[in-house]
Symmetry: C2
Subunit: 312 residues, 2 copies
């Protein structure tokens, strides 16, 4: 039987998943619950309880991935979807559990999981885009997670693809998130359907969002298929910029929205990226692949990272 090596926790805007993990990121036991809609205190109490439930008296470091900007000291500076600001989650959790704790951005730790035990095993230089309501990302360079000065590295949703273009929730314009996120795909569908000439099953859907577009595409709706290919085109532009900057050997696309939309988004993204790579005749073009760890990536990556940092 595999031994407990870490506890991994992923705190998302709506749900929280946690697991006892072995040294290879294998799940020994898992828990899943709604994220407390609250101030930081209740969130902290829930996390401490989960750690106790999963690890008991056994020694194990704790890794937490959370949707937000987390600095290198484990302070959640800003987590808009969770309602926390300047919460010293790493320090509080270490004090209350007596364990080694690592806290990082959810997409950053997810990229580490995919690199170590997922779609990018064997790759030292990995770029990961996560597609969900927004667009996020994570980077692994030379086998190490890139966290940056503020812990803010990997915000690939805010790579600008068209200066002055579509408005992005971040306040800027032209970010790839404004073209390829679930929210923006839903919005673009509604904008285009103003043209009454367009025939699509989506016309009948109330409060249309990106998920509906993916479902319609899967059912063969040509308008929906076009929308996802366009999102893929823009995603490929952002990929080209990041690949020109980092020259990774693989690009992984994950996140909740990618699971079903990948067959419609990835071919266009791969084509548009490849066309735009600097020196494309003289280099190996990175593979573009779907993520493998699905919703578990953040939890597994957080645990693997905590185990590695604790061992140093």
């Amino acid at each position: 039987m595999s031994e407990l090596a870490s506890v991994g926790i992923d705190i998302g805007g709506t749900k929280l998943v946690a697991a006892a993990l072995d040294a290879e990121g294998g799940v020994l036991e898992r828990r899943r619950m709604s994220t407390p809609a609250t101030e930081g205190d209740a969130l902290l109490a829930v996390v401490v309880e989960l750690v106790t439930a999963l690890a008991g008296d056994r020694r194990a470091p704790v890794g937490v991935g959370i949707a937000g900007l987390v600095d290198l000291d484990g302070v959640v500076r800003y987590g808009p979807n969770i309602g926390v600001r300047d919460l010293p989650l790493g320090q509080l959790l270490a004090e209350q559990t007596g364990r080694h704790v690592v806290v990082g951005n959810d997409a950053t730790v997810a990229a580490f999981a995919e690199a170590r035990v997922g779609a990018a095993v064997g790759h030292d230089d990995v770029v990961m885009f996560t597609l969900g309501t927004g667009v996020g990302g994570g980077l692994v360079v030379g086998g190490e997670v890139v966290r940056g000065r503020n812990g803010g590295a990997g915000e690939l949703g805010h790579v600008i693809v068209h200066e002055g273009g579509r408005a992005c929730p971040c306040g800027n314009r032209g970010c790839v998130e404004a073209y390829a996120s679930g929210a923006s795909i839903g919005l673009q569908a509604r904008e285009r359907l103003v043209d009454r000439e367009i025939s699509s099953s989506l016309r009948e859907v109330p409060e249309l969002d990106g998920r509906d577009v993916t479902l319609a595409a899967a059912a063969g709706d040509a308008f929906a298929i076009d929308l996802l290919a366009d999102a893929g085109h823009w995603l490929g532009v952002a990929m080209a910029s990041v690949v020109n900057a980092l020259d990774p050997s693989i690009v992984v696309v994950g996140g909740g929205a990618a699971i079903k939309s990948a067959p419609f988004v990835l071919p266009a993204a791969t084509e548009s990226m490849t066309e735009r790579l600097m020196g494309r005749r003289f280099r190996t073009i990175p593979e573009v692949v779907p993520a493998q760890l699905s919703d578990d990536a953040g939890m597994i990556g957080a645990g693997l990272l905590a185990a590695r940092e604790a061992a140093r």
Copy 2:
């Protein structure tokens, strides 16, 4: 007296600089010559001769920075300005000199030099843009040079700022190089001067290029100043994308064209970058600074990198 620690060589499109360096990248002795306009053999012979002249019988590894795509084995896959293709420079140089040899892209090794002994001393996460005839770049993450799978990391001139925009020499459209390189600034000046209403001293300059624009700006020409501010604006858009991706603590701007144009380009670049950073209210904004090592950066960085790799 400082001891020889490495020989650093920078092979550019027109000139070749080399030096005997101490362990801190200090120049003990230097040579400078025109780059042989030739096949690889003559270039190799010149480099071997320089190494012998600078190091004699003393033990010292050799670092070479070269304008082109250099893979991780030291093969110059493509050096358009030097006229080489698939030249195994690292291996040939090691065989002929019996020394440890490291070959890398010139801007990549320049970034390492600025991080270790130049404008970014004390910073572990450094983004460097180099402005010249084209736009290049180099990255340092966690104190290590980022080379990528093909050795092609750091091609920041081909970060796309405006999909479908101005044509770039790489064959793509909308790369920042198409807006902020010396060549493109000259081209944009010529394009705008078709409007006979514009008054500028540049109207009288034959075969106008980016250097002429910088000279005119320095002399107070408002049209030239505007052109450089526009180039800075676009440079800032690319900086925002790269900073959102990597979250460095400093952005260095170097390269031959930056030395005199920096006062006109950097303020606009800094402003445009800052406005576009994700979570700008919750993070430390990286400084944007001019490079310090000028034309020596590539040579020094190559030597420092060779010394470090030889010691491992």
